[in-house]
């Protein structure tokens, strides 16, 4: 799938356009944050503003207390939440990955039932993918075993 140079060129061009489409809005955000406020009112948001100024950032640093506290809370929640979530999930996942555990299917259902009907079932996808890969691994190994027998 990787041979011809022209095919590579086409892929690169398309992907560069896609990457630009993803990044340009964020670039617009950044450029409008360093645009001078009067230019903003007269010319509108633009990627190439007529006049630059750091007024927005000086405003943040002078009225800093709210924003810094907000950032502090965000960082604290993310750090502690991620670490605690990782530990709790890892403990539960390891227990549930033991196939012979009595009640494993019932507990699996109770744990993942919530994930399946929630709005952001990200962890569920990883679990299902992991299960499927494990089944695939076991299946492949069984097939190889069977082959070697004969």
């Amino acid at each position: 799938m990787r041979e011809s140079k022209s095919q590579q060129l086409v892929f690169h061009v398309i992907l560069i356009l896609v990457a630009l489409a993803m990044i340009v809005p964020l670039l617009l955000l950044f450029m409008s944050s360093i645009t001078d406020e009067n230019t903003l009112v007269s010319d509108g948001y633009s990627l190439f503003p007529a006049k630059l100024s750091l007024g927005a950032y000086t405003y943040i640093t002078t009225n800093s207390s709210t924003i810094f506290r907000a950032y502090g809370i965000t960082i604290l929640v993310t750090a502690i939440g991620t670490a605690a979530g990782l530990i709790v999930t890892a403990l539960m996942s390891f227990s549930l990955s033991i196939r012979d555990l009595p009640g494993q299917s019932v507990i699996s259902f109770l744990v993942f039932f919530y994930d399946a009907v929630q709005r952001r079932p990200r962890s569920f996808i990883h679990h299902v993918d992991g299960l499927r890969r494990r089944q695939y691994d076991l299946g492949v190994r069984a097939a190889v075993h069977a082959d070697q027998r004969f």
Partner: protein
Amino acid sequence: MPSRSNDAAETARLAAGGLPIRREGNMIKMRKLKPYLPLYLMMIPCAAYLIVNNYMPMVGIISAFKSFKVSEGIFGSPWVGLKNFEYLFRSSDVATIVRNTLLYNGAFIIVNNVVGIVLAILITGIKSDRMKKWYQSSVLLPFTMSMVVISYVVFAFLSQQNGMLNNSLFKNNPVEWYNDPTWWPLILIVVNCWKYVGYGTLIYIAGISGIDRSLYEAASIDGAGKWKQIRSITLPALVPSIVTLFLLSIGRICYSDFGLFYLVPQNSGPLFDVTATIDTYVYGALMSPGGIGRSAATGLLQAVVGFVLVLLANAVVRRLSSKDAIF
């Protein structure tokens, strides 16, 4: 799995191996749980969290059947039976919001998955590893932004006075984006794809990377062109990922991304017909008296419909190809 076996010798052999035997009576079952005790202890934090956070609040479902008064709380408020559901179905907007929610979710599922697969095929077709990482990161970048920020980015593009589009492409005939509902379905689909496509792309890239390279070589030796190779090798290998993502999306088909539908259109009146969904409607109803009961009723309906759809879709998938079903 040990089957129903009454043979004493086999029972003893299996018992010595430490496997739990469930059909031989309580005494043997209790003894066999002891080796698993550490595992059960490990499950305690997660179980405690789930019980307190997910299962205990289920009691609150009864507020869907009550006319909720803050002063009386959940258990003190008067019981109104199905009145909250009646209010929801009798409202004149119910056809609009249900149609919007279902159609948008359908469009999101199709567009996000198709674009995700195309991007995954493109990215895995690149030879240079460094560029591959750049493209993957750039596709994931919008996923990290909050919808609040994105609503302002869209505003920067579409604002009538100051927006980038009206000042460059449409400088001579500026379009009143926030007053004209015709373009908004497309805008919302594009914004949703922009934000969420990276996630599916990553899953599909992982799926494609797992395909054996020799399959492609064998196919090209047999004379298959690029298109044929993609259709016969890549796409079938991605079917498990597609089915998983599809099943999960089906369960959420009654929900909508609140930030997308409430914040991005900037709550503009003329756009109500094309941007109102069940969640924005419920949010609006929250402020009125008794609104909490109605919101609870709507939420209950969404969850029940989503659950039933997941079970149905899972049963259909299991009938068609049993290894792809989730449960």
